[in-house]
């Protein structure tokens, strides 16, 4: 679920790196953080344990160009891979726009990959989404290790539907940016596709208000008359301490609900031009900021 802010002219999209523990999700974000130009990124946040295992999530905000005057902000998240952090994974997945599944290529880790993929599907469903409808890219990481599956074998077991996949060695940066480019483009395509469709519906709604059924786009919890009355009732019954806050007078000429709130503005069909550094650049090991000081 992207957030479209017409006031600040920003589109905000959420991409989550998912996968089993120690598959390289955090390493992916660390590499992106190192390689994205300074003007396109801010600080990376890691909520991790003493042993540098992800406890809650890693977070990296990126500014990646604009579409029709709207700045695009991508928020990259990882989740903790360990099985017992499922509640956290579910929270981080809320409102996700695209997923990168980081699989470990080692033969000994296939069971964990499969379990994590099943867990992703389940958690997505519990967030009222369907994995099949969501932009998803698979990354086969740790390609430099011994005793790994071939990509054909990995595709057979983890990617029967032929989703986009990338081979990677995240710790030296290989495949990381290609993966990010692919998921970013898929998310933007999905955004454009949905907004394009919705614009048509909205246009036909305004052109032929009586003949088009727009009930599917009615705000889910828009207050009804009875709700408003109940609210007024509640206001009169609930005592409240005097507040020094005097609200400014605001014109109510333009209703905020009752019409679809999606995609009714300028066209957003221009493809995003993502300018990212080239692949195959050898990287320095990532040093977390706090360890720099010691």
């Amino acid at each position: 679920m992207a957030t479209l802010h017409r006031g600040t002219r920003e589109i905000s999209c959420k991409i989550v790196y998912y996968g089993p523990g120690l598959s390289g999700k955090t390493t992916n974000l660390q590499v992106v953080h190192q390689r994205i130009p300074r003007d396109k990124k801010t600080e990376m946040i890691s909520l991790s344990t003493e042993g540098d295992r992800t406890l809650f999530f890693d977070f990296l905000p990126l500014n990646l160009g604009s579409i029709q005057g709207f700045k695009t902000k991508f928020q990259l998240y990882t989740v903790p891979g360990q099985v017992y952090y499922n509640a956290t994974r579910k929270m981080v997945l809320r409102g996700v726009d695209g997923v990168v599944f980081v699989a470990d290529s080692q033969r000994s880790r296939m069971a964990e990959n499969i379990e994590s993929l099943q867990n992703l599907r389940q958690n997505i469903q519990e967030n009222n989404l369907k994995l099949d409808n969501l932009p998803l890219v698979i990354q086969y990481n740790k390609r430099d290790l011994d005793d790994i599956f071939s990509v054909e074998e990995l595709n057979e077991q983890l990617n029967p539907d032929g989703l986009p996949w990338y081979a990677a060695t995240a710790h030296n940066g290989k495949g990381v940016i290609s993966t990010l480019k692919a998921i970013s483009m898929l998310v933007i395509e999905e955004f454009n596709r949905n907004h394009g469709v919705l614009r048509k519906v909205i246009k036909s709604f305004s052109d032929k208000a009586e003949s088009v059924n727009v009930s599917a786009f009615k705000p889910i919890n828009a207050p009804s008359t009875s709700d408003s009355e109940a609210k007024k009732d509640k206001k009169t019954k609930t005592p409240m301490a005097a507040s020094p806050f005097k609200a400014p007078k605001i014109s109510k000429s333009k209703p905020s609900t009752g019409v679809p709130r999606i995609g009714s503005g300028t066209g957003l069909n221009t493809p995003l031009n993502l300018k990212m550094p080239e692949e195959e650049i050898e990287l320095r090991p990532y040093i977390p900021k706090d360890k720099d000081k010691t």
Partner: protein
């Protein structure tokens, strides 16, 4: 896809309310963010990246909700943090929005619950879409 959209006209209303609130309550910084981590509006100055604060605000509130569930309390409406020179109050606005307030003190204003409730009501009156649960994609 149920993307969450903020109209420019609504953004102006929100900004006016946040500014007025900040001036009335001596709040250093106030941030309105979507539960998915996106910044909706902010007022005041703080030397931090707002999107990072927004995401951490969401994480903090979600953690409190999980604590509540473990304790059999499914609906914490607000969480607060008291520091030596700054205090923070985070509350829910409808189903999908969070309001974070930062005060330059080691304690929060005495009636912050009431002030905050008043602001939340005004925000919902100004932008009724805040009552939508847009953090879940129910249309799929």
């Amino acid at each position: 896809m149920n993307d969450f959209s903020i109209y420019a006209a609504d953004a102006v209303k929100i900004q006016a309310l946040l500014q007025a609130y900040r001036q009335s309550t001596n709040c250093e910084y106030v941030l309105l963010s979507h539960r998915d981590g996106a910044v909706i509006a902010e007022a005041g100055e703080i030397e931090k990246e707002s999107s990072t604060l927004s995401v951490l605000c969401t994480a903090s509130f979600d953690s409190a909700q999980q604590i509540g569930m473990i304790l059999g309390e499914p609906g914490f409406q607000a969480v607060s943090y008291l520091g030596k020179s700054r205090s923070v109050y985070i509350s829910a606005v409808g189903n999908s929005i969070l309001l974070m307030q930062v005060y330059p003190d080691d304690r929060l204003p005495k009636n912050i619950d009431s002030y905050s409730t008043k602001l939340v009501e005004l925000l919902i009156d100004a932008v009724p879409a805040f009552t939508q649960d847009s953090s879940n994609n129910l249309s799929r």
